[in-house]
């Protein structure tokens, strides 16, 4: 196990940074351009911005943020539906904090809370089960948002509600899967990439093998990477090495927590409770089999089956989050960035989420 002290060792980080810059120079000499790498994890996006690495490397390695923030990739209609859910009477809506300020077409959950709706920020899905138990006369709905990192914990909450025979508990599943969206990105050919910085936390659940499709089907490399500066640099370094050797591979550079097979217990939970579903993504439309919803036998916990919502076409804005999550433009290219759209008054979800590309840019790279 790597110790955190080692991972945050400044001398090691400085050496790693120099090594990456040198290798990126070799790449430029060989191919006549800078390498283009995409991170598909919102925590990586934040870590690159917060550590200053994205700014420091901008002339050497182009880092593009991909569709790795669960709030940002949630379709506007889904967001409107979730906000409408809160309007019903006798309900307690439980959500992760990130969702509170995401703008719907008219209001956000924060506005609904200010108007007196019972909306509670939870830190673990299991908290929502406890709330349902303590409030038997209320309908408790958990907003189930997230990638493979979060989904197993959502199923744990459902299992706990099942065990406690709760009749007043359900989950509004709007979950997303990483592989289908990566395939959709690569199939579209919209972005030209040299490699992927692969998500560390998702890989803990899925295992290294789940990304082998990159080499088998697309001839593109990826490195599973941790989140400390030294780990981020190591991931980039290993990708550059592969590129310079004209090799295609998926490497696990986060072996302390990521195994080949992943977390089999978590995978079993997903199989037990959930089935594949065609999910809508912001800016990308419907991607077949890119989400998970509850199986029919668990319909009692499926908020989408229990509650009727009807939302119209979302309000059109100049927000370009859809292009930002596909890595097509930088936040600064959006006319709203830091003008109409700020974390205090967000217009698009990428500005709200703690993993959002615009939020990272606003907080750590604005005005540079």
């Amino acid at each position: 196990m790597e110790s955190l002290e080692t991972l945050s060792d400044p001398a090691l980080a400085r050496q790693s940074l120099e090594a990456v810059v040198e290798l990126a120079g070799e790449f430029k000499k060989k191919f006549g351009r800078v390498p283009v790498l995409m991170e598909v994890c919102g925590s990586h996006t934040m870590a690159f911005a917060k550590s200053g690495l994205k700014t420091r490397l901008k002339d050497h390695v182009r880092l593009i943020a991909g569709p790795g923030c669960p709030v940002c990739v949630t379709d506007q209609k889904s967001i409107d539906a979730m906000i409408q859910l809160a309007e019903g009477s006798n309900r307690i809506l439980c959500t992760f904090g990130d969702m509170m300020r995401v703008p719907g077409s008219k209001v956000s959950l924060m506005n609904s809370k200010t108007d007196g709706k019972d909306i509670r920020v939870i830190y673990s899905p299991l908290d929502s089960v406890k709330i349902a138990e303590e409030n038997p006369d209320k309908e408790v709905i958990l907003l189930g948002i997230g990638f493979e990192t979060t989904i197993p914990i959502l199923t744990l909450a459902i299992r706990e509600a099942e065990r406690k025979e709760l009749k007043n508990y359900s989950v509004w599943m709007t979950t997303k899967l990483v592989e289908p969206v990566m395939r959709a990105l690569l199939d579209s050919g919209e972005v030209k990439l040299d490699g992927f910085i692969l998500p560390g936390h998702v890989s803990v659940v899925l295992g290294k093998k789940s990304f082998d499709f990159l080499v088998e089907d697309y001839q593109i490399s990826g490195v599973i990477t941790g989140f400390e500066p030294v780990q981020l640099l190591s991931g980039i370094y290993k990708l550059l090495e592969l590129l310079l050797e004209n090799k295609f591979d998926v490497l696990n550079d986060y072996p302390s927590v990521v195994k080949d097979e992943g977390n089999l217990t978590a995978q079993k939970l997903l199989k037990q409770y959930l089935r594949l579903h065609d999910e809508d993504w912001r800016g990308m439309g419907t991607i077949p089999g890119s989400g998970l919803v509850l199986k029919e036998e668990y319909a009692q916990f499926d908020a989408k089956k229990r509650y009727e919502v009807s939302v119209g076409e979302p309000r059109k804005t100049k927000c370009r989050c859809g292009e930002i999550i596909r890595g097509l433009i930088n936040p600064e290219s959006c006319v709203l960035f830091n003008k109409g759209c700020t974390p205090a008054h967000p217009i698009g979800p990428c500005m709200v989420s703690t993993e959002g590309t615009c939020a990272a840019h606003y907080q750590y790279m604005r005005g540079e």
């Binding site: 980080a13 550590s51 830190y123 703690t354 604005r366």
Partner: protein
């Protein structure tokens, strides 16, 4: 302009700043005396400093203190950072029907003890009770009156390139303490709040060193927001060294788990000082003599007198700009 007040308006970050600008500055103006934590009232015998504050912390009791102790320390510190000697405090209590009298006694006792430690007198008070559900247990509003010592008044206009930034101790303790005490996060932390009256520490420093450019207590919004405000108000660029900012390991650990940045978490017993670089060593020595300044460190310097930016230099040589707290959801911390 938003139509309704949201919780985020109380976080001490960008939204708070906008609300103050859009509502209060528009109505009350923004005179020179309102730029600091206390207003300096000229024309009185020995210029007076006055400050007012409200305390709505949840939970009311937390490791290292309670709302009463916090009301005294917060008010004392707001006076002390302006170079005033805190003398008198008034306290108004808004109590919710059903609040336990025993808890109120404990809180009053804490206030008395802290006032004695700080050398201030609680001289007037008021009590109102509202129906159950109209308040959350207990709110306290204070007014603090201090006697200004002209020789000890900070001189922010004298700030120059090379001046050093000092923090009197570890950051984020109070924020993590409150997060832990709320027990919403399953955090196994026993971090105690750092809430403390720092007027004696400040007094020692100003007596010995004098010439303090500016001092601020980095409460809501944390160290980063406080320094951004200084940079913007006085158009200086400050560069901090990330690895010189003292942070307790358990505070850093809690922040890592919860996704908070300690630079933006509240402190209730810390001071930021900017002093001439030639006085830095002496200043640190004096601050460390005080029990609330043991972990004091030089954390950065004024790097230019141009555009008001706060920069953070990471241990491996990258630099990033720090902004005000923006869009974080934090619990009621003071």
């Amino acid at each position: 302009m938003v139509q309704k007040i949201g919780l985020a308006h109380g976080e001490g970050g960008e939204l708070t700043h906008q609300l103050i600008q859009d509502v209060f500055v528009k109505s009350f103006g923004h005179g020179v005396q309102t730029k600091l934590d206390s207003a300096i009232l000229p024309g009185m015998i020995n210029n007076m400093a006055v400050t007012t504050d409200s305390f709505v912390v949840n939970p009311i009791f937390f490791p290292g203190g309670n709302i009463g102790k916090l009301a005294i320390t917060g008010t004392v510190n707001d006076l002390a950072v302006c170079g005033a000697i805190p003398r008198f405090i008034t306290a108004g209590f808004i109590l919710e029907e059903g609040f336990p009298v025993n808890d109120l006694k404990k809180i009053a006792q804490s206030m008395a003890e802290e006032a004695e430690r700080a050398g201030v007198h609680i001289v007037a008070g008021d009590t109102k009770v509202v129906e159950k559900g109209s308040a959350d247990g207990l709110f306290i509003n204070t007014t603090g009156i201090g006697e200004l010592q002209e020789t000890h008044r900070p001189n922010p206009e004298k700030m120059k390139k090379g001046d050093v930034v000092i923090i009197s101790g570890t950051i984020g303790d109070h924020g993590v303490s409150i997060l832990g005490a709320r027990n919403e996060l399953g955090l196994m932390t026993d971090v105690a709040s750092d809430c403390a009256s720092l007027n004696h520490l400040i007094q020692d420093l100003t007596n010995e060193v004098g010439d303090i450019r500016i001092m601020r207590d980095p409460t809501r919004g944390g160290l980063a927001t406080t320094l951004v405000e200084i940079c913007e108000d006085f158009q200086v660029t400050i560069e901090l060294g990330e690895d010189s900012i003292p942070i307790r390991k358990d505070v850093q650990g809690a922040c890592d788990i919860l996704g908070f940045d300690p630079l933006y978490l509240a402190n209730e017993g810390k001071m930021v000082f900017i002093v001439d670089s030639s006085l830095a060593e002496r200043a640190i020595h004096i601050i460390k003599q005080n029990e609330f300044g043991r972990d004091a460190e030089v954390i950065g310097q004024v790097s230019s007198l141009e555009s008001g930016k706060l920069l953070l230099r990471t241990p491996f040589g990258t630099t990033r700009r720090l902004q005000r707290l923006s869009g974080m959801l934090l619990p009621r911390i003071c």
